[in-house]
Amino acid sequence: MDFEWIKIPYALLTLFIVVNFGMLLGAFIQKIGARVGRRHGIPIWQNYADLIKNFGLRTSITHGVMFYLGPVFRLTGGIGLLLFVPTIYGSEMFSNLSFSGDLILALYFVFFGTLGMALGAGESGHPHAAIGISRGLSQVSMAELPFALAVFAVALQYQTLSVTDIVAAQQGGIANWTLFTNPVAVAAAMLGFLGSMMRPPFDVVIAPQEIPIGPPTEYHSSYLALMQTNRAIFPIAKIVIYMNLFFGGAASWPVFFLKVFLIYMVSVIVGVVFPRFRVEQSIRWFLVWAVPLGVLSIVLV
């Protein structure tokens, strides 16, 4: 559980794998969405192209220090989150930097990037940035709740806060997954998951014309590149947590890719089916449907 220098290259390796996987996954999912809509869709390497293009672009615009630092915070948050959680169960190599903290660290570090990003966008002076953030925060404050409750139910169930230990407890067959040992908690967590993925129907936050990363009026070029990188990492990092907590973790990279993909698909499918909620609607929705499940899961443990 202590630091060793070798952990650094190992962590970088994880990072490298996840970045690539994230880029491809993102494009793949977009392509699926396009195909469903009878469009051709983007090529699978489109994200790489965008990234390189954006890094290549030169901008000379900044609105101030926080504006400048916003994407830095964002990406730091994504990378940090990924690295604080063990990726592959049973692999010393891919348990990353999880020695520095347990589940709680991961849960709270989620907000690091969000907060920094929100601050950066705020300094742009663009009113829509503020509006988007106010919506996002409002929604997250409720969407996180069932997830947090479920996480805690799981922690109580396994009497540990260590991610590795939780995964360990789920080994030995599908029946040992939290999904089956504690379905209520998982249901609650998955509902929360929908909210936190910022996909329809809970995507009013990133309604494209309303927040700066949509039409990159303010954040563009290299800023956008950082954020794109993060967009490849962050959802995966989050899904890793879900996977570890509820779906038995992953003992190898193929299992990892599969599980992450499937979990991701959940939100995509829901998003295809449902129309968009207004913020207060989604808050109420979480309050009425997801939170009671979370509470139930805690009580039942």
Binding site: D2, P71, S100, I104, L115
Partner: protein, 1051 residues
């Protein structure tokens, strides 16, 4: 010693001598009057000295060369000496005060005054019933005459009022004296004596008709105490009479009449005590209630006088229960009341207008304001004044004897009284001052100052007495308190000198004593003393003398230090009251803080009373106990003690339901005061909770586990506090609500009653001190520069106030608990703590509160520092150096605490093992390991730092030429904005959130307390209409009073 008879002889001789003087030589007559009164004062003082210092026995003085009961005799004992001294001194000072009036009124007026004082002395000294009657008649007549003094000078619309007041008094006194005479004669018939002691021995009650005879006498004498409802006449007198006479009427007449009742009770015996108690308590409550809607100062004082007298009557009525401590209590209350009331009446004479708000004129004279404060403190029984000791003792004895209803009523009445007195003080400090100048003539200010001096002297004396009786140290000799009080004397110095002295004193005291604390207390000591000194750095930014700030601030700090140093319940409570009062004065200094300071002091005093009751219940009759022995409180009382103390402490931590004072109080306080009252003061409540929980642990009441209830309260507090903070437009109010939420977390930790819960509470204590002080300073600095606290009026200040921005940024990251800063430590400990907790539902609520913090924190930093800069704020400068400096220190502290929390927590963790042996942390190297998880703050800091730096470096490489664009270089809705007002999205920032969650922010609590206050107010307003001003009605009241007491008392 001269015979006490000379008290009477001197006055009479002087009064008669006045008639022989040339009527035009009024100065001479005045001199004679003063000499006589001074002589009487000296005689009394001489006796008092002899009784207290030389310990002589009481002396009986026979007249006419015959022994009692055949001739009238007088008695001079300790009580008599003290009371006559009080009467004579009041008379002398009032005579001084009345100089102009007496000189204008001539020798007859002076004679009346002399005789009035003499008659009061006679009432106190005489041991003969009929003689008592004669003296009472003298008092009545002279009072009716002295009431008229108001006409001579004050004139104006009041003239004629005093005349009718005097007439009403005479009407009622006719009824009274008829009853008294009948009672006396039948008592004489039954016992064959008029001597009080003789009658007491003859057991009057057993003789035929004796009970009714006594009843008549008793009613008559009690009526002189102005009991409810037979007291309308007295109020009219208070309202219309000259204040100097009112001083006598309240202080001296009240004391004498009480003593007469005391003598009568000697005759009546124990079965009359409950009746006295009943009359007293009803009067106490009713008068205080009726005083609430008063706006006329003297009438208010009148109501208050009546209430106080009622309270002393209660004490007399409980004498069988109070036993030997009766004099200590009764005198403590009486003398506080007398000195304070006399002083206040004298003060009222300095002012021209009679509305309470007109007292704002007094602000011109800080010395007089101090006098007012002294008197108010005496009346409300705050330490270190005698009333405090008396209250403590009274409550303890009552609780020890199981008189809970009475106890509750007394505390309720006292709270109401504190309410209107402190409201008045608020007016005095905050209302617009009339243009009139307050005259400062020596003969008028002199008596006031004497009263102030007497108040403090009595405070010392009672401290000494209590020390002797109960083995305590004199409060006034406590070093911190002395230090605080010394700032009263230094108030003429410039603020920066006082500030330096204060900081030096606090640091020095810490250095002197830090070895004495256990780790738990050490944390609080550091926050209170070192932390306090740190916040005081910000006070260097204020120039001038800043009168009144340092005594108040130091009083608060003194109270807090004494609180953690207290080992007995008494010391603890005294410290608690001191810090409450000190902080009240501090809060009141804010520009618009009047109503908030009032609700603060009311909640605090209410809480303090609950604590007092709790301690009293726990003490079970003992005068005090070691705090540690709270653990030994036996079963039936223990849960109630717990409830009382817990609710009391929670008023200070602003738990939900008791929180409504906090937002206003913290928000309206001065820039450098907000951090003190938020960052530091709130911890006092938590400390109290810790002491309580450590000693008493889990308690059950009706099968409900009280810590479980606490958990719910704490969780709801956190939720509502956070939620309310989201919707504030005022930056300081936002922070204030956030404090409520944070205190909820800390309380939750304590209520978990496990090792990590407590550790979490301590982490919150430390963190909250640091970041809330920092945030309040930062926001205060911004508010100072921008001239507003409304966040939507700000925006884009990051470039103008970068240091403040950094402080707020670090602050909000810390508050929100995002790693790597120290707030995360608290969260981590919290999650580990609840892993082993038995109750899960409250946690859900707390979980819900967590993310809400992000909402208000983001709003705070965004609407102030980010977004669009307003035109009118373009010239704003960074906050003053002395406000920024402590912020930067706090930033450093936060970082240090984030990386090495063990520095502060390790020892506490080890210390907590004594109480919660299980679930401690393991501090291995950089990693902190609990039973469930682990956490390595150093590693986190390094990892996040490295990633951040790397990404930042990457961005710098790619985008090193970034240039600042102009403010409006943005495009939205297809146009370029040009006005920051319309572009800065800030007002009602969380509108959709409000739509969804607003139902939780309904001001139920505020409405509840408002309704309660309204109800009391309305009750008082309706009740006082009983006194319709018609003299005949007052006659009805008296007769009704007699009849009611007869039937209710079951005589």
């Amino acid at each position: 010693m001269v015979s006490p008879l000379y008290l009477i002889v001197l006055a009479l001789a002087a009064a008669f001598l006045l008639g022989l003087l040339n009527p035009e030589r009024r100065g001479r007559a005045y001199a004679v009057t003063l000499v006589a009164l001074a002589g009487m004062t000296l005689i009394s003082a001489d006796w008092l000295w002899a009784f207290t210092m030389e310990g002589i026995d009481p002396v009986d003085v026979y007249t006419a060369g015959a022994e009692p009961p055949f001739a009238i005799n007088l008695r001079m004992g300790l009580a008599e000496a003290a009371l006559t001294l009080l009467v004579n001194l009041t008379g002398l000072l009032s005579a001084l005060y009345l100089k102009d009036v007496l000189l204008a009124g001539g020798r007859r007026t002076m004679a009346v005054l002399l005789i009035s004082v003499m008659a009061l002395v006679g009432i106190i000294l005489t041991r003969d019933l009929f003689n008592l009657f004669v003296f009472f008649e003298l008092v009545v007549i002279s009072s009716a005459g002295l009431v008229l003094l108001a006409n001579d000078k004050d004139g104006g619309p009041a003239s004629g009022l005093s005349l009718s007041a005097g007439f009403k008094y005479l009407i009622v006194s006719q009824f009274i004296s008829a009853f008294l005479l009948l009672g006396i004669i039948f008592a004489y018939h039954a016992t064959g004596t008029l001597n009080i002691d003789g009658m007491a021995n003859a057991s009057l009650g057993l003789a035929t008709g004796g009970t009714i005879a006594f009843f008549l006498m008793f009613m008559a004498i009690v009526a002189e105490l102005k009991p409810f409802p037979a007291n309308g006449w007295a109020l009219d007198i208070y309202e219309s009479a000259h204040p100097a006479f009112s001083a006598i009427f309240s202080a001296a007449t009240g004391a004498a009449a009480l003593y007469a009742v005391d003598k009568l009770l000697l005759i009546g015996g124990a079965e009359w005590l409950p009746i006295a108690t009943g009359i007293g308590i009803v009067t106490f409550i009713a008068a205080n209630l009726f005083a609430l809607p008063q706006t006329h100062d003297r009438r208010l004082l009148g109501y208050s006088s009546i209430a106080q007298t009622g309270l002393v009557l209660v004490v007399l009525g409980q004498r069988d229960l109070l036993g030997d401590s009766t004099p200590f209590i009764a005198f403590g209350l009486l003398i506080s009341h007398a000195v304070a009331k006399a002083g206040l009446f004298w003060l009222s004479g300095l002012l021209k207008n009679r509305q309470l708000a007109d007292w704002a004129a007094l602000r011109q004279r800080p010395l007089l304001v101090f006098a007012f404060v002294t008197f108010t403190a005496m009346l409300t029984g705050l330490p270190p004044f005698p009333g405090f000791y008396a209250k403590w003792e009274l409550v303890h004895q009552l609780a020890g004897a199981g008189q809970f209803t009475l106890l509750g009523l007394i505390l309720l009445g006292a709270l109401i009284e504190a309410g209107y007195l402190f409201r008045w003080f608020g007016y005095l400090m905050k209302r617009e001052a009339p243009v009139e100048t307050v005259p400062c003539t020596g003969h008028k200010v002199g008596p006031v100052l004497v009263a102030v001096a007497a108040g403090w002297a009595l405070a010392y004396l009672w401290g000494d007495l209590a020390g002797g009786l109960f083995g305590r140290d004199n409060l006034l000799l406590a070093l911190p308190l002395l230090f605080a009080l010394s700032f009263l004397l230094l108030d003429w110095l410039p603020a920066w000198i006082k500030n330096s002295l204060a900081i030096a004193g606090m640091v020095a005291f810490f250095l002197l004593t830090w070895g004495e604390y256990d780790p738990l207390r050490l944390i609080f000591a550091i926050i209170f003393l070192i932390g306090g000194a740190l916040t005081l750095l910000a006070s260097y930014s204020v120039h001038g003398r800043r009168i009144g700030f340092y005594p108040a601030a130091m009083l608060m700090y003194a109270g807090m230090v004494m609180l953690i140093r207290a080992t007995t319940s008494f010391d603890f409570f005294a410290a608690w009251e001191l810090l409450t009062v000190g902080s009240y004065f501090l809060i009141l200094r804010g520009k618009h803080s009047e109503p908030h300071a009032l609700s603060y002091i009311l909640f605090s005093l209410g809480g303090a009373f609950l604590i007092l009751a709790g301690f009293a219940l726990a003490a079970a009759g003992a005068p005090q106990f070691d705090l540690a022995s709270l653990a030994q409180v036996a079963a039936p009382a223990a849960p109630w003690v717990f409830v009382l103390l817990a609710v009391g402490f929670m008023t200070k931590t602003a738990a939900i339901g008791l929180h409504i004072w906090l937002p206003g109080a913290h928000a309206e306080a001065e820039t450098d005061v907000s951090p003190m009252v938020s960052g530091i003061l709130l911890k006092a409540g938590l400390y109290g909770m810790m002491v309580l929980l450590l000693a008493m642990g889990k308690q059950q009441l009706y099968g409900v586990e009280l810590t479980h209830v606490l958990l719910w309260i704490a969780a709801l507090t956190a939720l509502i506090g956070n939620l309310m903070a989201v919707f504030q437009e005022d930056a300081k109010r936002l922070l204030a609500y956030s404090s409520i939420g944070q205190m909820g977390y800390a309380l939750f930790g304590l209520a978990l009653m496990n090792h990590l819960g407590w550790l979490m509470a301590l982490v919150f204590v430390i963190n909250h001190y640091i970041y809330k002080s920092m945030l309040f300073l930062a926001v205060g600095g911004v508010a100072k520069r921008t001239g507003t606290r409304e966040m939507y009026k700000m925006g884009g200040l990051i470039r103008l106030m970068p240091l403040s921005f950094i402080a707020v940024l670090i602050g909000i990251i810390a508050v929100s608990g995002v790693p790597p800063l120290s707030g995360f430590g608290g969260r981590w400990v919290f999650y580990n703590a609840i892993m082993s907790a038995e109750y899960r539902l409250p946690m859900v609520v707390l979980f819900m509160a967590g993310p809400i913090a992000f909402l208000y924190l983001f709003r705070l930093i965004y609407t102030i520092f980010l977004g669009q800069l307003k035109d009118e704020l373009r010239r704003v400068k960074e906050a003053p150096f002395w406000i920024v400096l402590p912020q930067m220190i706090y930033v450093a502290l936060l970082l240090v605490f984030a990386v090495v929390p063990g520095l502060a927590l390790r020892h506490v963790d080890a210390y907590l093992n004594q109480f919660f042996p299980e679930g401690g942390l393991h501090w291995g190297g950089g990693t902190i390991i609990s039973d469930y998880g682990y956490w390595n703050p150093v590693a986190i800091m390094i990892i996040v730092g490295v990633i951040f730096t790397t990404v930042f470096a990457l961005l710098l490489i790619v985008n090193r030429k970034a240039q600042m664009v102009k403010q409006f270089n943005i495009v939205f809705s297809a146009e370029r904005p040009f006005r920051p007002e319309t572009t800065h999205y800030a007002w009602n920032f969380y509108a959709p959130y409000r739509k969804a969650m607003g139902f939780l922010t309904q001001p139920f609590v505020t409405r509840f307390w408002d309704t309660l206050a309204d109800l009391l107010h309305t009750a008082g307003d309706l009740g006082r209409r009983l006194y319709d001003g018609n003299g005949q009605s007052y006659g009805f009241h008296f007769l009704a009073f007699v009849v009611i007491v007869f039937f209710v008392g079951g005589i």
